[in-house]
Each structure stands twice: as C-alpha cells, then as structure tokens.
C-alpha cells in the first residue's frame, strides 16, 4: 500500500496498533478541512505492528490527546517535505474536555457547561481520575 509523503504537516507515528482510530476521533480529524491518512496495522521493525496518522496541513493538534491515547507515539513535523522536528510524547498531567466522565452521579452529568477535567493519579498504571467525582477513566471510553 502506498501513501504519498506529505509536504507540510504532521506525521503521528508508532501508534500502538489498533489505537489509531481512537486518536483520529479524539483529535477531531474528521472535522478538519485537510487530507488525513489513517494507516492501520502496518509492519514496524520497532514494534511489530503500528498505526500511523498523516495530516497534510499545518493544523495544530493537541499533544495531550496523543499522550493520553499512546505516550509511546512519536510526532514528526514536516515543512517543505523535510522533517524539521521530532517530538517525544509524554503522559499529560491533566486532560481537559478530551474524555467525558461516565459516572451518572457525577456533577458533570447534569451541568453540561462544566469542563470535563481528568488528572493523572497513577503514572505507572496510566490512571486518570475525574477531578470532581474521582471516577477512573478507562482509556478510549
């Protein structure tokens, strides 16, 4: 399968196989007016199988979202066909309006204007908890 190289934009590489679609959704790429390639389960020497997202535009993306979905992903910034920056991603300390609290008893379930904020409470196990009701977030839900 051939996907053209991009001239100006972002390549999110080494996404754990199967998480590309979730990242695509959480980054809101379906609403962006630009070409996006979501490539799933390609062979990788580094990690066996991986997903890749190529965004053919200089749009801004939320690096916290990438870190939440997959802190092992890498981000390459491309300008004029050249790699100008390679960014390593880290687990974000806080997520604002990335995921919603699923606890029906949480105050965010009735007050829609409140920001949905989650804090990283256990780095080792990648646990995020709602700052209001402390409900644990399950990745991708």
């Amino acid at each position: 399968m051939n996907i053209d190289s991009i001239t100006n934009g972002i390549v999110i590489d080494h996404i754990t196989a199967g998480r590309g679609m979730l990242l695509y959704d959480l980054l809101g790429l379906n609403n962006k007016d630009c070409s996006v390639a979501l490539i799933m389960r390609v062979n990788s020497r580094k990690c066996g199988k991986k997903d890749i997202i190529k965004i053919d535009s200089n749009i801004s993306v939320d690096f916290d979202v990438i870190g939440y979905v997959d802190p092992n992903a890498t981000v390459n910034i491309i300008r004029d066909g050249k790699l100008i920056e390679k960014r390593n991603i880290e687990l974000p300390e806080k997520l604002t309006n990335v995921i919603k609290c699923k606890n029906p008893r949480c105050i965010t379930s009735v007050e829609q204007e409140l920001d949905n904020i989650f804090k990283l409470t256990d780095k080792e196990n990648m646990v995020y908890r709602c700052i209001y009701c402390e409900t644990k977030a399950k990745i991708g839900k």
């Binding site: 606890n103 008893r105 949480c106 105050i107 965010t108 379930s109 409140l114 700052i131 009701c133």
Partner: protein, 303 residues
C-alpha cells in the same frame, strides 16, 4: 482561603489540631460562645438531611454566629436551573462560609472553585462526607486517647459505605493500625481501597464474614447500615440487609473497653438493647460531630 472537600485535604497535623480545638471547646464552651459573632454560615442542602444540617446549624449558633440557607433543592434556585457555580458565587455575597450537601458527586468541589468564601462538603452523593470522618476521629480519640495501635473492625456494607472509605483513608496515616473487614461477600471493601490505601500504607488487614469470630480482638467496632438506595435490585437488598444485627449476646466475647460506633441513621443493625451499654458510642459520635464542625468553622474562618 481553605475549604474542606475531602478528608485528605487536611494533613494529620491539621486533623490533630482540630481535635485539640474540639476538646478545648468541650472543656471551655464559654470561651468560644462569641467567636463567630457577626458571621453567617450558609447551609446549602440540595437533598434532605437531618443530623448533618442541624449539627452545622447548632455548631454555628454555639459559636455565636448566624445561619441562613435551604434544606431541599426545590426551595432553591437549582429548581430554576441555576448552576452550582452561580449559586456559590451568589451565596458568597451573603455569607462568610458555606456548608453544602448535594446528590451529585463533586458538586461541593465545583462550589469551592467558584466561591470567594470557604466551602465545607457536607456530603456529595456516595462520594465524600469528611465532617462525618471528623466526628469519627474525635470519637476514637476521646474513647481511646489516640489512634496508634488500634484494631478496628468495620462491619456491614463496606462496598458502598462512604463513611468507611473516608475513615480508612484518614486512619491509614497513623501507625500500628489493624483493620478487620467484616461483610457479606457481595458488600466487601472495593479492591482499590485495599490496594491504594491499606496496602500502600502497609496497614495490616483481614477479611471475614463472621463478626463473632473476630469480636474478641476488636478495640473499635464500626457498624454500618446496608443502604437500600445503593441497590438496583430490591431482592439483593432484602437478602443482605439483615446480614449483621448486633445484639447483646454477640458482645459476650467482646473486650470490656470496646467502642461501638455507627455513623447513623441505623435501621436494625444495632439492637436498641445495646444503647445503654457503656460501650455504645454512636450518640456520642453525633455530639462529637457538632464539636468538630465548630472547630472546623473556626479554622476555615481563621477566627
């Protein structure tokens, strides 16, 4: 400016200081009778509560202050759709401190982020109820003289009981505590409390379904009610509600200085025949709750 949303918002030193002030209030009530003169406590109770609201009101009156507020959501602007944030901002214009109970978890925290005055969480759904924990801590302190090296049995609904989770959180910071968890299999303490609190703090604990078997080792027995409102299935509630009923004969093997506690209200899990037993502490807990709320109001108002 400080608020109290979760018992862990306060350090053990701060809790010890509150206990010390509460003990001084008990010894010298006159000294505190005008400490809050001219100050107003707003009790914002979005769901009904008898003892907690009355306890806060009594606490403020005994400090010489005044109280305003409402006791159900229908009589507040929430019925018109006002947000917790707007209510907190508005009430900040009228009062000096807020005590809030709300059925939604995290509502008092939202209030604390928006109010310009201290906010006390007076219970948010099944989440936190820190002032009940303050009452429990003062009771244990007054009955046992401290918190170290105690064996504490928690009995009944350990799964949904927020008072149990909060008290375990607070006690886990003291040394030499031993915890005995007594519950039916369906209402055992959630795994995350065991791993994140007990195991993380190296607290020794055992689990059993048999109250009488462990009774002789207990210094404190903390009974809880099986709460109907936490069950989706009435059948399960009916099957589990009478799992543990403490009657005088079950205390035969108990220590003579055992302290029997309960956050109240009780249904039938402690027989009324035990009320006159000197080991029964649950009504003392109610009184201690008022003194700790007085100490808390003084601390948060910095008076």
């Amino acid at each position: 400016m400080r608020s109290l949303i979760d018992i862990l918002d306060f350090t053990t030193e701060e809790l010890d200081q509150l206990i010390s002030v509460a003990n001084d209030i008990i010894a010298n009530p006159q000294k505190y009778s005008e400490k809050c003169k001219g100050k107003k406590l707003a009790t914002l109770f979005f769901e009904p509560s008898t003892r907690t609201r009355l306890s806060f009101e009594a606490a403020m009156y005994e400090l010489g202050g005044n109280v305003l507020g409402f006791s159900e959501a229908n009589s507040s602007s929430a019925a018109k759709g006002e947000s917790v944030a707007d209510t907190a901002k508005t009430v900040s214009c009228y009062a000096d401190i807020i005590a809030m109970r709300h059925p939604k978890e995290g509502a008092p925290y939202v209030a604390s982020l928006n109010a310009s005055i201290p906010v006390i969480n007076a219970g948010d759904g099944g989440h936190n109820h820190p002032t009940q924990t303050l009452a429990d801590l003062l009771t244990i302190y007054r009955e046992k003289g401290g918190f170290n090296n105690l064996t504490i049995g928690f009995c009944g609904d350990l799964k949904f009981g927020r008072t149990v989770h909060s008290l375990i959180n607070a006690l886990a910071r003291y040394s030499g505590i031993k915890v005995v968890l007594i519950s039916p299999k369906e209402l055992m303490l959630p795994g995350y409390v065991k791993t994140d609190v007990l195991e993380k703090n190296n607290i020794s604990y055992t689990e059993t379904t048999d109250l009488e078997e462990v009774m002789p080792q207990l210094d404190i027995l903390y009974m809880t009610r099986v709460q109907r409102e936490r069950f989706f299935n009435e059948e399960d509630y009916l099957r589990l509600k009478d799992s543990y009923v403490l009657t005088p004969d079950k205390l035969n093997e108990a220590k003579s200085d055992l302290s029997i506690m309960h956050p109240l209200p009780r249904v039938n899990e402690i027989s009324v025949a035990i009320d006159d037993d000197p080991r029964a502490c649950y009504f003392k807990q109610v009184l201690n709750g008022k003194y700790m709320r007085m100490a808390l109001i003084l601390k948060l108002l910095e008076v």
